[in-house]
């Protein structure tokens, strides 16, 4: 966070906050939190460098050999000579490669939708907290309305109306998630906007937008980061559910959920690997992100020292 030297009040707020180094050090004090973070970083790296880590591009049909279809984990490819560590699907696609590429889509959709929702939600929440009055009541009424519907139902409604596709899934997830951010941002914003430094900025004649962006927003960031982390995991989980149901991402861009769904029919004939391994990848991803979120909550909220 840059220190605003022109404004003495911002400076003062900066001094009372705990220094970044302390926060990082206290994060790593928890072995579970550290484990979650390491796992999460590994997963993200695996997704980013998927083309370098996998034997084949699972969606380049020229690289698939139908003769290698439905191979058990560990069996060797007849065509290429390398072992399929996690087996192959019905079209001879290496499951390991497919999972790495699926992770890219799952993580991409999760992160993109959560950040978009965070931007929209936080803006609306802070404006509501700062502005008050009729605007606040309209925004918060919308938030309540949104939160009174279960997430899966809202997403299903949007996808039923708009049809499937990555763009529509992201839109659905943003619509599901923005309200959580708005509620948190308003709650924190209400507390902050009553503090002296905001009052002082008013007196100094700082324009509203500047107070919102430079003073209110930076001080509301910590709880929003915690929510955002957990929401990424929820978005990934919901996207996987929708894709599993066949209303999410299209078959050409399979996320983990769609991989699980594709392999599901083979599970009854004992070919468990086609959906169990993508399922485990999904599970580990969600748990890792949740562990990080839990730890961040403890670190960023000093009152809860347990």
């Amino acid at each position: 966070m840059p220190v605003d030297l022109v404004d003495p009040f911002a400076n003062e707020a900066e001094e009372t906050a705990r220094p970044m180094r302390d926060l990082i050090r206290s994060y790593f004090r928890s072995p579970i939190g550290t484990f979650g973070l390491v796992l999460m970083v590994l997963i993200v790296l695996a997704a980013v460098f998927a083309p370098f880590l996998s034997f084949q591009n699972p969606y380049d049909l020229l690289q698939l050999d139908i003769l290698d279809g439905q191979l058990k984990p560990g069996e060797t490819s007849a065509a290429y000579g390398y072992p399929y560590m996690l087996g192959t699907d019905d079209q001879g696609r290496d499951m390991f490669s497919a999972i790495l590429y699926g992770l890219r889509i799952s993580l991409g959709v999760g992160i993109l939708s959560a950040t978009t929702a965070a931007l929209i939600g936080a803006t609306l929440g802070l404006v509501a907290a700062y502005h008050g009055g009729r605007l606040e009541s309209i925004i918060m009424r919308l938030v309540d309305f949104q939160l009174s519907f279960p997430t899966i139902l809202v997403a299903l409604m949007i996808l039923a109306v708009m049809g499937k596709g990555i763009g529509n899934v992201i839109l659905a997830l943003v619509l599901v998630e923005w309200a959580t951010f708005a509620r948190t941002a308003r709650g924190v914003g209400l507390v902050e906007s009553r503090k002296d430094y905001i009052e002082a900025s008013h007196v100094l004649g700082v324009p509203s937008w500047r107070i919102l962006l430079r003073h209110l927003l930076p001080n509301c960031i910590p709880p929003l980061i915690v929510i955002a982390t957990v929401q990424v995991a929820r978005a990934i989980s919901l996207e996987a559910t929708l894709s599993f149901l066949g209303v999410g991402v299209p078959i050409t861009e399979p996320s983990l959920g769609l991989l699980i769904s594709n392999g599901y029919q083979y599970m009854f004939s004992g070919m468990y690997w086609m959906s169990v391994f993508p399922g485990l990848a999904l599970l580990v991803t969600i748990v890792a992100i949740n562990l990080v979120g839990d730890r961040l909550r403890d670190v960023l909220n000093p009152r809860k020292d347990t």
Binding site: M140, R141, P150, G246, Y264, F268, Y272, G279
Partner: protein, 326 residues
């Protein structure tokens, strides 16, 4: 108070009206149902006849008006796939969903309350820690994933319980129920458990928090001081007070159980409303989708309305018209 209730009802009606517009316009943006329904080999005359029969050749506002008039007559169109009134097709599947949701709610209380009570009474025991950690898993694991694992473990590997369908049913009051036969019950158990896990975690945490809050209170200490047995204090004095928020949440979350049954029904091929809507989305069976969305929106708007009104009646401090003003 009466005015604020009236205002609330007005808002609910307005929301329903908005939903009809959103749903209707949205449904007309999805791919052309004609291409799905009529084989490419059909003659142009046949094609025209079918388009006219479904009313797909009218202007969009004419179609919307017909839709609204139909709604008023509880006529939501005829399913393209089943060739039966959409509303009837959905209502036929309603008991199956209801049975699943009720059983899941029952199981979630059966699992959540005792475990939450234990964790609340012995907060530092390793078993309690295990319970609390498991409840985090119950929150974060996707329902479909757990359902899949249930099938893999109990149906495919162990072969204990069936993985799909409703099994043998008994007809009571003109509706079919699975829970009255042993076969039906064995079909119901896995999907209900699957659907229950998320709510069980929620109830578990609520119960534990409630116990932790109630235990140090004076009336509990008084009950102990009176010489009542520990069993009686826990089961009568503590549990009774803990159950109030639990019952509220169980009621509020019932709609959400019905919503999430979409996932469970699809995995376990449970022939309810949820499976129907997923199949209909994939078949672009518009009348069913529209009817389902209208029914489910009506359900939730009603639940929210009832809760709001109950709060107004029970707590006079709540005044809806004044929120947001300072």
């Amino acid at each position: 108070m009466f005015a604020s209730i009236l205002q609330r009802v007005g808002q609910a009606v307005f929301v329903m009206f908005c939903m009809t517009i959103v749903v209707f316009i949205g449904m007309n943006l999805i791919g052309n149902p004609i291409d799905l329904l009529i084989s490419p080999n059909a003659t142009p005359v046949e094609r025209q006849r079918l388009i006219a029969e479904f009313g797909l050749d009218q202007a969009i506002w004419v179609q919307y008006w017909r839709f609204l008039v139909g709604l008023a007559h509880l006529d939501l169109g005829v399913s393209y796939i089943f060739n039966e009134p959409a509303l009837r097709v959905i209502l036929q599947r309603f008991p199956a969903t209801m049975e699943l949701a009720l059983m899941a709610t029952f199981l979630s209380v059966l699992i959540g309350v005792p475990l939450g009570l234990y964790a609340g009474l012995r907060p530092y025991s390793p078993v309690s820690r295990l319970i609390m950690t498991s409840s985090i898993l119950g929150f974060s694991l996707p329902t479909f994933w757990v359902g899949m694992m249930f099938i893999l473990l109990f149906s495919v590997q162990l072969g204990w319980l069936p993985s799909s369908g409703r099994g043998e049913t008994v007809t009571v009051f003109g509706m079919q129920w699975s829970f009255l036969t042993l076969d039906g019950l064995s079909h119901l158990l896995l999907p209900a458990l699957n659907l229950a896990l998320f709510k069980a975690s929620l109830i578990l945490r609520l119960t534990r928090a409630g116990v932790a809050e109630v235990l140090p209170q004076d009336y509990v200490r008084l009950a102990h001081a009176k010489g009542l047995s520990a069993r009686r204090v826990v089961y009568v004095h503590v549990l009774k007070n803990v159950m109030i928020p639990v019952v509220t949440v169980v009621g509020l979350e019932f709609g959400s159980v019905i919503a999430f049954s979409v996932v469970t029904e699809t995995i376990f091929a449970w022939p309810g409303m949820g499976k129907l809507i997923i199949d209909s989305i994939n078949n672009l069976d518009r009348p069913i989708i529209v009817a389902y969305l209208m029914i489910i929106v009506l359900l939730f708007v009603t639940i929210n309305l009832v809760v709001d009104i109950l709060y107004t009646v029970l707590d006079p401090r709540v005044q809806f018209s004044k929120t947001g003003k300072r």
